[in-house]
Amino acid sequence: MSLKSAAAAACVALAAALPALAEIDAPECVAPAQPGGGFDLTCRIAQQGLDGAFDRPIEVTFMPGGIGAVAFNQFNTTRTDDSNAIVAFSSGSLLNIATGKFGTFTENDVRFLATAGADYGAVIVRADSPYADLGALMDAFKADPGSVVVGAGGSVGSQDWMKGALLLKSVGADPRQMRYVAYDGGGDAIAGLLGGAIQVYTGDVGEMAAHIGDGSMRILAVLAPERLEPPFDAYPTAKELGYDTEWTIMRGFYMGKNVPDADYQAWADAFAAAYKTEAYRQARESKGLMPLELSGPEMDAQVKQLIGELRDIARDAGLIQ
């Protein structure tokens, strides 16, 4: 055992022995948006899943403004050492950090803490679509990238757009040739798909739970690394069909950069312990998320690596110079 890992182990043991260190007396989860959205749900997972981890229940607060940029900037300026507060993020936030939308601060100005769960991208068409399977759609992309009208709820450069761009790239087509229609939210985009305004919807697996079984839409592929659990196990991944496209929507939490190590570790341990509980599983499932359980420095490193990869993808797609 090296000195470093021994020290880490000692830290963990210490933190486990002294749960809820003195500094965390009013735990708070900041949802950087208005109530009711995805960040709200992410915070509710922490609130319900970590019930009892601290002396007081986690309070959910809202800090909307500028697609999450306002919260990100505040935790980089005035609340960098707030041990009580964790802030919800999603892959969309990571993409915004990667493309520089959050201003001068980067991923190295915060500490990523833990994941809440994951959702995966999905390629969805209307039930009567001429594209029988993903192969047929990809052939069309290959022959003429502009021949298919793709749409989703996010703007150009958002993760919804990115899913389409990555699909095109996997068959060697130029993402900038894609005919992409930016709707105002997933609901409008699904309406557009059902009404025939768009032919392909690059949405998420989770939101499709509401539509499975009514026969109005078909999922051609999920953009997950491997087959998902039921009820989504019937859908092939793009990877197994031979197209190297993957889009995991990670949902999780970050903290300010100057939070004391012991407090950061106490939070990380609280998450690591909660992942094993039935209450956490229920909280996560009721919010439509699939398991993705990472916490502490390991998670921080993985997310920072992921942002680096996103930056490369964004550069390839022409989003940043």
Partner: protein
């Protein structure tokens, strides 16, 4: 028809249980209050009460009945502060200020409140009837509305609002342009490029509609009041005991019916809601009124009834795609959809067969809720109207406080409070220059819908403008737009000629 009747029977069996009746009443009453407070509207009323409804351990149908009650109750209550204070209680009540507040100034606040309550009741009830009879059918039609059709709808909306161009054409147009400019701020969805954000992260998502409404309308009104008070020109209003008369109802009955239908259809369309519905209804009614429409904006009964019938009908209409297809058509219905998912209920066509107690229970509760709202609201008219007799030096700071708390409770960002003050000063200056503020708000709402859908349509067609006139729905809407501009002029000339003939006789 039979399925509708048996469905309604199931629904009323659910809605008429004591618990659910109580929840309908509570939801409608608190919804009215939430709507009446400037700044707090249906969307945050529902969002705030959602965790409470969940925490109480209510069965899903009861929770939904409560939340929906708050939703349409708030749409009902929005008119109160529009009429009394000239500050829209929520986004859908902007047009209600135009004729509602002048009535209050004339000492007819009670009449305005009671007439608008009846208009709201008719709009809300017709929407529920439409929802129960033709829900699934209408939803299927609504999703076929392509971006190109929305462009045509916006052209129609602009055409019907051309009637707002009154004495001061240039200033109205300038106001609309200011609204359009405000709407362009934030990240452009079609390119991902930030526009006019000046490097301020708070502006990346654009300016919230609510901030514009409260700032331009609310704060500007308060500044105006303070100015009048300082200069000693403020009139104190006498106690207002006016009430709805039978003749008022007879005079506005067609307006209310027409605007209920307009509001319901616009509400069904995903992406357009109460604010667009009330604007189109107001504009259309003013157009149809022809010469007598000149009194719109000075306290005309029809100008008050039109937007109120429309915005309540739109609230019911927005539930159609949510319940029958699982597609939220507005921000509030998106939260209601989230509430259903929290209870592991999947909205959509299957909900009516698999969970009829929820789908039909909600619909049945809305019949009860609308009646309850009318019964709650009419006796309170006198009480609300008395608010106007409060001395201004108490009322003004109270409204300011409510507006700030209301806005902060939704947007939760101090930056937006500064923005409200800035917009308020701007709005006050515009008023000093004799601008009307309604065109600014309408430019803001319709402008972004118009721009986004135009660009969506052109992305779909790869830049071919022909897509705009490809579909019969677009062409029909352009036809209506032309009619709504030409018809009043033609009717005006005919009646002038008829008058001339009559003189000759």
């Amino acid at each position: 028809m039979e399925t509708v009747l048996s469905g309604l029977a199931t629904g009323f069996a659910v809605a008429l249980t004591p618990l659910n009746i109580l929840l309908v009443l509570f939801g409608c009453f608190s919804g009215t209050l939430i709507g009446a407070l400037p700044g707090i509207g249906p969307i945050n009323g529902v969002a705030i009460l959602l965790p409470i409804a969940y925490g109480l351990g209510l069965p899903p149908e009861s929770a939904l009945i409560l939340l929906a009650g708050i939703y349409y109750g708030a749409e009902y209550g929005g008119r109160i502060s529009s009429i009394l204070l000239n500050v829209p209680g929520d986004a859908g009540a902007v047009m209600t200020t135009l004729d509602g507040h002048p009535m209050a100034l004339k000492g007819e606040a009670g009449r305005a409140l009671s007439l608008s309550a009846v208009a709201s009741f008719v709009g809300g009830t017709l929407a529920v009837i439409g929802l129960s009879l033709f829900g699934p059918l209408l939803a299927k039609f609504a999703v076929t509305f392509s971006p190109a059709d929305y462009v045509a709808l916006m052209v129609f909306a602009f055409a019907s609002l051309a009637s707002l161009v009154g004495r001061n054409g240039i200033k109205t147009l300038l106001g609309a342009v200011i609204g359009l400019m405000l709407a362009t701020m934030g990240i452009d969805a079609n390119t991902g490029v930030p526009r006019y954000t000046f490097g301020i992260p708070d502006l990346l998502a654009g300016i919230d509609f609510l901030v514009v409404v409260i700032g331009l309308f609310g704060m500007a009104e308060l500044l105006h009041l303070v100015e009048q008070q300082v200069s000693g020109r403020l009139r104190t209003l006498p106690v207002d005991r006016s009430f709805l008369r039978r003749a008022d109802l007879l005079r506005t009955r067609w307006t209310i019916l027409r605007c209920s239908v307009i509001g319901f259809f616009i509400g069904i369309l995903p992406g357009t809601g109460a604010s667009v519905a009330s604007a189109v209804a107001y504009g259309t009614e003013k157009r149809l009124a022809g010469k007598s429409g000149d009194s719109f904006g000075t306290g005309d009964l029809r100008g008050l009834a039109a937007p109120e019938a429309a915005n309540n009908a739109a609230a019911g209409g927005a539930l159609v795609p949510m319940l029958t297809l699982g597609i939220p058509g507005s921000g509030t219905t998106a939260i209601l959809l989230g509430a259903l998912l929290m209870f592991n209920v999947q909205p959509g066509p299957l909900m009516f067969t698999q969970r009829p107690e929820i789908a039909w229970g909600l619909i049945a509760s809305m019949y009860l809720g609308n009646v309850a709202l009318l019964i709650i609201n009419l006796p309170l008219v006198g009480l609300f109207a008395r608010m106007l007799t409060l001395p201004q030096h108490y009322l003004t700071p109270l409204i300011a406080m409510l507006a700030f708390v209301g806005v902060y409770s939704i947007v939760g960002n101090p930056f937006d409070l500064y923005l409200i003050i800035l917009l308020g000063i701007f709005g006050w200056v515009l008023r000093k220059l004799d601008f009307s503020l309604a065109p600014v708000i309408l430019g803001f709402v319709l402008g972004s819908l118009f721009e986004n859908n135009l660009r969506r349509a052109l992305s779909i067609s790869a830049g071919d403008w022909g897509i705009l006139i490809e579909d019969w729905k677009s062409i029909a809407l352009y036809g209506l737009a032309v009619l709504v501009v030409i018809l009043p002029a033609w009717a005006g000339r005919r009646s002038a000629r008829a008058a001339a003939d009559a003189v000759e006789d």
